[in-house]
């Protein structure tokens, strides 16, 4: 029973951080109606920025993330402005080449990191890396707890940003109906650029929070892309709250899976769930699918 409780709590804590990454993805998907397979790579780049801050300058990851976020914000804006935005004007037989472009971006980011840092597994060891708190008989990592609460804080802030500020409202309006938003005077190219930037910054934040818990290597991005997808589709595209809930569900499911299912089949189970959700949970994704 204690093992079970510990597993679930770890799942929730992890899930909160996954949610932050997925919210970034859902925001981008909602506003731009694109499938962004480079999202995990953005997380990975964010992690490397925080990692460099830590190893080269001794900046704690929880502070380093505030460097990683603006860096990724900038990268996100540039990708949107000079690549994805361009594609809209290109007449092509297959509209899916948008997906492929993000694959290309993913490759570039991943390989650029590999060139700089090799394929080695890296990790940060801070004073509190191995600390745990005890709750009854359950031991829980301090880094997880801190990460979870920061992630929740960001989620709340983002929610306020989207509901209370003008820019936030413009983002939501564009996500709902771009044409209508444009008629209302929303500068949609600026909004999409900002959205991509914010999405990338959130990816960086989530990645930085996970840095004390995960090994870092260039290919870790795929892992996060897959997770964000599962969460986004679970939660219904474009919904911040949906993504938060989806994140928690995935965290718990994964945590239980790691404890109770053999390692080899773990990823397989995740993919099968992904497929099943895609097929049988038409909640958010069908409505988007029609618009695409």
């Amino acid at each position: 029973m204690e093992l079970f409780g510990q597993t679930v709590i770890c799942g929730i804590l992890l899930g909160g951080m996954y949610a932050l990454i997925a919210i970034g993805m859902t925001l981008i998907m909602g506003v731009m109606k694109i499938i962004n397979l480079a999202h995990g790579a953005l997380v990975m780049v964010g992690m490397y920025v925080t990692y460099v801050c830590f190893t080269n300058y001794g900046i704690d990851p929880y502070i380093g993330m505030f460097i990683a976020m603006p860096v990724l914000f900038l990268i996100g804006c540039l990708i949107q402005k000079y690549m994805i935005n361009r594609l809209v004007e290109v007449e092509s037989i297959l509209p899916e080449n948008q997906v492929l472009l993000t694959v290309g971006i993913m490759l570039v980011l991943t390989e650029a990191m590999r060139l700089m840092f090799k394929s080695d597994y890296r990790s940060v060891t801070t004073g509190y890396s191995t600390d745990t708190v005890y709750l009854g008989g359950m031991s829980i990592s301090v880094a997880m707890v801190i990460g979870f609460f920061i992630a929740m804080g960001f989620t709340l802030l983002l929610h306020l940003f989207l509901t209370k500020t003008d820019i936030g409202k413009s983002i939501r309006a564009t996500a709902q109906d771009r044409d209508a938003a444009v008629y209302m005077g929303v500068n949609s190219s600026r909004i999409t650029m900002l959205t991509f930037g914010i999405g990338a910054a959130l990816a960086a934040a989530g990645g930085s929070l996970l840095l004390p818990l995960f090994y870092l290597w260039p290919d870790i991005g795929h892992l996060f892309t897959a997770k964000s997808f599962i969460i986004t589709i679970l939660g219904g595209m474009g919904s911040t709250m949906g993504a938060a809930v989806g994140g928690l569900i995935l965290g718990i499911a994964e945590s239980l899976g790691a404890t109770y299912i053999s390692m080899g089949y773990k990823d397989l189970v995740g993919l099968v769930i992904f497929l099943l959700v895609l097929l049988f949970l038409p909640g958010g994704f069908r409505s988007l699918a029609r618009r695409l």
Binding site: V90, N97, L100, M106, E111
Partner: protein, 318 residues
Amino acid sequence: MKNVNLLLKLLLLVIVVILPLVIKAPYQLHIIILIFIWAIIGTSWNLLGGYAGQVSFGHAAFFGVGAYAAGLLQFHLGISPWWGMLLGPIAAVVVSLPIGVIAFRLRGPYFALAMLALGEIFRLLFINLPFTNGAKGILIMPAITTKMFYYYVGLAALLLTVGVTYYIIHSKIGYYLVSIREDQDAATSLGIPTTLYKNYALLPSAFFTGLAGALYMNYVAFIDPNIVFNLTNVSVMVIMVVMLGGVATTWGPTVGAAIYIVLGEVFRTTLGSANVLVFGVLVCLIILFLPNGIVGEIDMLRGVLARKKEGAAGGVKV
């Protein structure tokens, strides 16, 4: 004009046939054999992705199954992997049936995602299943080692693939596939059973991709799940091959394969570890500036000057 065209084609065929008698260098022949293999996969993908508009991110599943069908024959039963040239495509078709049932429930990018997941599922299955020798892969001792032999087998397989695809596209099925790509609702309103026809594209596509897999097993003699079921190096690569060469064109995938393999070799030898990075940059540039591929864009330019030939449905070029 028509005769000149035909003559040129015949001349090209003759050159391709006598080429290995002229260049005997194994390295050059090796490159050409790889081009053949990739051209087969590209042509197969093009049938489903380019003509029918169902962009698959999971063709590695068919390639891998084809390769493993050949490899496992030898590994478990000691039967010549050349039987795999027959069994591989069949196995790929068998696998494609349930894949079609699942993935064709979805449209557009969601189909693409489902195929991506299915491709990855196959990779993980072949790592974990008890009879596949896991991540260690399968090594065989090929009975024939002369490059020239594989050259002709590859060429024959490619010509067969292009021929069959050409035949399909220039028939009722081809018109129906392009209709589905252009507007699925309109296609339905014309009485086209869209899911059935998507399967008519998927099955041959899987068949020839499986053939390429079996050929790869025989030629390279070593496979493991992370090679033949690879998302980036097989599933995405084949899309790039087709996009570079020309989506929904007969010879586009072959042209694309040739350029890719040659460029890839040049990059690998001159750029070292940065070659994948350059590849990624290239991917982005192609999509942004050559979205319909080299053959596709050339034809478009020519189309401005002269009406295109009759023969097959829209966007179909010879």
